[in-house]
Symmetry: C2
Subunit: 449 residues, 2 copies
């Protein structure tokens, strides 16, 4: 993308309403614009990151064998009355009356509707296991929306639901989701720690939240320092393998890690004092096993091997997709702006032309742009007639992890400058080597010449 | 995907409520399930096609230089009061009151909000031209939703908005959209004819609707038969080139083609009688130029070259994304089911194992599945223990354009059967040749061995 043709409305001033750094930078980098309280438009740069995160989630869900669907945002109140949640949900549910005076609502979560889909079609244990998920806009009418996309009213969320014959099978689904989420967050450059959680209004005995450590986190967290050394890494997992998934669960949840909601001083005391850590954390996902709570309420039964009709065991599993942008920025920024992890960066690198209009500089930039694009990468080329300082400030603010700087002086020596946003370190090297380095960083194969 | 692990709830019975063929087949093929009147859940097969259509639209919009954003579904009523449309819109607008008693609405279209985004950031003619678009869920509270996704209440739509300094520039944007839409529909296997349209409630002097000919279309259409010979084809277009885009517009709109709303008997009489055709058509898109209607109402002005503040010239451009699934099926089916065009088929081909459990048949199917998958294609492998007749019926119903049938008898002779869903013609050939044919059809490069 050429910046002269893009829509990147960066702000010089820090918006007064933004209290936390991710909100400030998302506004200043032209990623979002508030439409009304707690409701945002996603401008091009923000939408691009949102899609990258969405794509990673879809890929990882497919790897785990989960199947994507899409449920509507507007639902009838009927199913929610059947489950008993219509009255229980309170004012956070956005309630709507349609032109025929029917009670509708903007869905905050979809246990009822997905269970209705299941019960309409599935009759036999032979069709299990089954996990359906969606990535869809949700609405919760928060009384005081704040912190930008971190606590908005309209938000984008991945919500998945497993249907299994037995508790044992459903706990495998639970473990499978835990493993899948670990992979998912790591691909986004995040360390998200599974912490024992409280069932809350959805209920459930087994539940973990995934928390990203950040000073601005809404929860106080207590953990054994050994936990931050764990990496999922490149290990191969067979998601059908019960033992493998169980082993990962045990590895990642056997050490103490809890939020203030579930913190237990007695257990905490058993953690060696030199490994006790307290910090703040941002919740970016949660997994639940809640058994037959909804299948019994909504009569979602299958025939088991003996011919008996039994309610299915279920769980639900969520990732806060729009919230993740905030969490990533909270975890990865400096005083100049955002620092995107390579996995979610909106553009793979920036190209800064120090002297727009200079024939050689223009030609070198165009060549870099064409070569990188041909490799399937997306560079953002700042081709505007601006001072170098302004171009650098914009690149730092929007946080592309790599920048190639091109100017007449370097070109005389046959070099451009490759700069890491994270370390600030620069290196002079010939343009083709800069391309090779970027290609290597992103794992893109370069044709031999 | 292996069918044994997929969620494809096909129905044997034709649902009583479905009056048109696309609605019947979408229900029977397990693509959608009604959640409430005019509101659907998209089951895995339907969601997959929806995403393919969405991807094509994003690719073609990028080619035309248009920039994706995402606006929220829930908007404040304030902007709609500013434009005067809040009261004018009538009962089709879903009106909502939030917990703080503020008037909100589920957006049926986004001229107001996108204009607000524009006016918040853009000050100068130098930042033009600009076209922003989104693909987002919309809601229109139809009094009698019907025909499945063809006239639903919650629907998925691409809506784009151009901002230009002059009428001339805005008409180039109009032409650019027309060209882009022609390419977009052709990639989906559709012939969508631009027809002169009526401005309607959005207003506008220049507007064309795109109609797909189908017996169940809601509009009566009148056209010169020469128009159906026009193909956009593989021609290279420079979307910045005003003359090229204008020439395409003239080529595709100079012959008579109108709906009953704009039909003019006097002009119609000039079409040679042997070329006059009447038919029915389904609207799948519309483009508008409406000048300064919204920019004046909402004060979206820029500084022009003389320093004067002038309202921008705008247009809006829509594609009915969810509706397109219905339109494609109406245009491409037979009495056995859907016939997907290759560009939007949910899976590239089916693999039918005639004797599941037979070692050789199983191995041959697995090898085909692995080879096709390695090529980046998505086969749907029917690995269930079902009779061949049932497997064929399912494949015909869900409409994958190509089927590879594998059975012990053929394998003895070293062959499988490749069948075209469209023609019904079958050919026996060695498995590797079947793969080569599928790869060729989808333009996938096969490595030399």
């Amino acid at each position: 993308m050429r910046l002269s043709r893009y829509f990147l409305p960066v702000l010089k001033e820090t918006p007064a309403e933004a209290q936390i750094v991710s909100h400030r930078y998302m506004l200043r980098a032209g990623m979002i614009k508030q439409a009304s309280a707690g409701i945002y438009s996603w401008l091009p740069l923000g939408f691009k990151v949102l899609r990258k995160i969405e794509d990673i989630i879809h890929e990882e869900q497919a790897r785990a064998g989960h199947i994507p669907i899409q449920m509507p945002t507007i639902q009838s109140a009927d199913l929610w009355r059947e489950s008993g949640r219509y009255d229980a949900y309170g004012q956070e549910m956005l309630r709507i009356t349609d032109r025929h005076d029917r009670d509708m609502l903007f869905t905050p979560t979809a246990e009822e509707l997905v269970t209705d889909i299941f019960r309409s079609y599935v009759r036999s244990y032979k069709d299990l296991p089954l996990t359906l998920y969606q990535i869809q806009w949700k609405f919760r009418d928060e009384i005081r929306p704040r912190f930008g996309v971190m606590r908005g009213r309209e938000f984008y969320m991945k919500d998945g639901y497993n249907f299994d014959l037995t508790k044992e099978d459903a706990l495998h689904a639970y473990n499978r989701h835990l493993v899948s989420y670990l992979r998912t967050y790591e691909r986004m450059g995040l360390q998200a720690i599974p912490m024992r959680a409280d069932g809350g209004p959805i209920g459930g005995d087994y539940t973990h939240e995934f928390l990203v450590l950040a000073d601005t986190g809404e929860s106080e967290v207590f953990y054994d320092s050994e936990i931050t050394d764990l990496k999922f890494g490149e290990r191969e997992i067979d998601f059908d393998n019960v033992d493998q998934c169980q082993a990962v669960l045990e590895e990642f949840t056997s050490r103490y890690a809890r939020t203030d909601e579930t913190h237990d001083e007695a257990v905490w005391a058993d953690v060696p004092a030199d490994r006790q850590r307290t910090a703040r954390g941002i919740e970016v996902g949660q997994i639940f096993y809640f058994g037959t709570k909804y299948s019994e309420a909504l009569n979602a039964v299958v025939q088991d091997q003996t011919g008996a009709q039994v309610p299915v065991h279920m769980g639900s599993h969520g990732i806060g997709v729009s919230r993740l942008l905030g969490a990533i920025i909270e975890a990865s920024h400096d005083d100049k702006g955002i620092i995107w992890p390579e996995g979610v960066t909106p553009f793979h690198c920036g190209i800064v032309n120090l002297k727009q209009g200079d024939d050689e500089a223009d030609a070198a930039c165009e060549a870099l742009y064409a070569t990188l694009t041909a490799l399937g990468l997306e560079p953002l080329y700042d081709d505007r007639n601006e001072r170098a300082g302004g171009k650098f400030a914009t690149m730092d603010l929007i946080g592309l992890p790599w920048r190639i700087t091109v100017g007449p002086r370097g070109l005389k020596n046959g070099v451009v400058e490759l700069t890491s946003r994270r370390t600030g370190e620069s290196e002079e090297l010939p343009p083709e080597q800069a391309v090779a380095r970027i290609a290597e960083i992103y794992g893109v194969a370069q044709a031999q010449e």
